[in-house]
């Protein structure tokens, strides 16, 4: 299968949780060990140091790595960036996906704070990746139902009761599979919703890269569904982006 990891990163964390991939090269070594071809990546500095620093680091450190694709972290336009210059930046650097860290960066991820930027994301079909803050996700999609939203790192203790009503209502909501380790979870989801709303993610460096990979490889779903989740769905989302 042609694996495209939607949820991994590199950099040196202050408090390492699992393995540390200090550089893009170290992340690539792990991707090669597991047979993963491409990845949408963040630099740990984007989450735990500052988005300003991290957004630059992710660009410079993967500049000569065509298999790695950058995501940028957002900040409220009232304090750091005006929307026009931020959008100009993602256009200039070919950044096809964004990340929100509302807890670490201490803001409300909603229309009040991000309205004009979210309208740009909807118009340009730029996917926004965020953790499993389900009430925030529900409110955000209530205001911006056409937003392409990818919830990552969900499901370690079973979040289906949170996200299934949202999946029912919002067709642009997607989920990564990095922590979706529920027994038969993938098969049960795909039987009800089809494979198009799931994206393979490893959760590395926190999560062992082979965990979600083997789970998807032998989920009780059609081969075409596995291929879609492994990489086609993410490629489709990125191909829809209009920078």
């Amino acid at each position: 299968m042609d694996w495209f990891d939607c949820n991994c990163g590199f950099g040196i964390p202050a408090k390492p949780f699992g393995s540390v991939f200090a550089t893009a090269a170290e992340l690539l070594d792990e991707l090669d060990f597991c047979g993963v071809g491409e990845a949408l990546v963040v630099h740990i500095a984007q989450q735990f140091e500052s988005p300003q620093t991290g957004n630059q680091l992710v660009l410079t450190e993967i500049a000569d790595q065509p298999r790695l694709h950058p995501a940028w972290a957002i900040l409220p336009p009232q304090t750091e960036w005006d929307v026009a210059s931020f959008v100009d930046g993602i256009k200039r650097h070919g950044v096809g996906a964004l990340r929100a860290y509302p807890e670490e960066d201490r803001y409300l991820l909603n229309g009040l704070t991000f309205g004009p930027l979210l309208e740009e994301l909807v118009g340009r079909r730029i996917p926004l990746f965020v953790g499993p803050y389900w009430q925030t996700v529900a409110d955000l999609l209530g205001d911006f139902p056409e937003l392409t939203l990818v919830v990552v790192d969900h499901g370690n203790w079973g979040d289906d009761r949170f996200f299934r009503p949202l999946i029912d209502r919002y067709p642009r909501l997607h989920l990564d599979t990095s922590s979706y380790q529920l027994e038969r979870g993938l098969a049960d989801f795909v039987r009800r919703y089809g494979p198009d709303r799931l994206l393979y993610g490893s959760g590395s460096p926190n999560i062992q890269m082979g965990a979600a990979l083997l789970t998807l490889a032998h989920a009780d779903i059609p081969d075409a569904a596995k291929v879609a989740i492994a990489g086609e769905n993410l490629r489709r989302l990125l191909s829809e982006v209009r920078l």
């Binding site: 393995s19 079973g158 027994e183 098969a187 062992q208 965990a211 990979l213 083997l214 789970t215 490889a217």
Partner: protein, 271 residues
């Protein structure tokens, strides 16, 4: 793929390995509050086990964590209906000492039970407490296993607490469920110091690099595989083992050899 493991290649190709069966030492059974399980019954679990190459599983029912007598009876029935595929731990809830005493007396009545299950966090009672002593003494007298929840920095079942218990009962094999998640060094120290104490991988296996650290610091002979089934898909944990930077001999130890050795007594008596 640069991973040269033959076992990983087998699991990737077929979802299971003929040469490397899997034994799951940490399972549950039945529905539970707070989570949707697609299929938490015996047939569903067996179907998943077959898909993943899991030869057998040792469980405590979710019910037993709440009402131990009703739950242990439920688990005994499952073991009777599926001998050789399901084994069980008899759950002890220290909040009910008299009922727990009855469960200890009943232990020999049900074939296929391999020891006791403790969940000190759920029961808000420390593993070092006196109410666990009767079960520990019985287990020590009969060479049983004790699988206990063991979570990092917990004041009821953190790994440092086990260092005060496991040495007193040398005939018990202790499995530290979840390997002291997040307080790894303390759990490794207990498993290193005490020959009767093993690390168990449920939930811990997903932490990148942790299996390789266990192997380096404790040895693969002291690590057993588990999934909390029907919580976690076995392939998720197996994938973690397959893609850890360890040898195939280590993978065999973790996935089945150690468990085979621990379960041999109960299997020999036809449990």
């Amino acid at each position: 793929m640069r991973n040269q493991s033959r076992i990983a290649a087998e699991f990737l190709a077929a979802g299971k390995s003929e040469s490397c069966p899997v034994i799951d030492m940490h399972g549950h059974y039945g529905p539970f509050h707070g989570i949707y399980f697609p299929s938490p019954n015996a047939d569903g679990m067996l179907e998943t086990m077959d898909r993943c190459g899991v030869s057998c599983i040792v469980c405590s029912s979710h019910t037993s964590l709440v009402d131990m007598e009703r739950g242990n009876r439920e688990m005994a029935e499952v073991v009777r209906e599926h001998p050789g595929r399901f084994y069980a731990y008899r759950t002890i809830n220290p909040n009910y000492p008299e009922r727990a005493a009855r469960e200890i007396v009943r232990f020999p009545d049900d074939p296929g039970f391999v020891g006791f299950k403790f969940h000190p966090s759920s029961h808000s009672y420390p593993v070092t407490g006196a109410r666990y002593v009767p079960a520990l003494e019985y287990a020590n007298e009969h060479d049983l296993l004790v699988l206990s929840h063991c979570w990092g920095h917990s004041d009821t079942d953190g790994p440092k607490l086990f260092s005060k218990v496991v040495g007193k009962y040398p005939n018990i094999t202790f499995l530290l469920g979840h390997s002291g998640y997040g307080e790894w060094e303390a759990a490794f120290a207990v498993a290193r110091e005490f020959p009767n104490t093993y690390l168990e991988l449920t939930a811990a296996s997903r932490v990148s690099g942790i299996i390789a650290r266990m192997v380096a610091e404790v040895g693969s002979e002291k690590v057993v595989f588990g999934t909390d089934l029907p919580w976690f898909d076995p392939h998720y944990g197996i994938g973690s083992v397959c893609f850890s930077r360890i040898t195939d001999e280590d993978r065999r130890n973790i996935l089945y050899r150690n468990a085979e050795r621990l379960l041999a007594p109960v299997r020999e008596v036809g449990g």
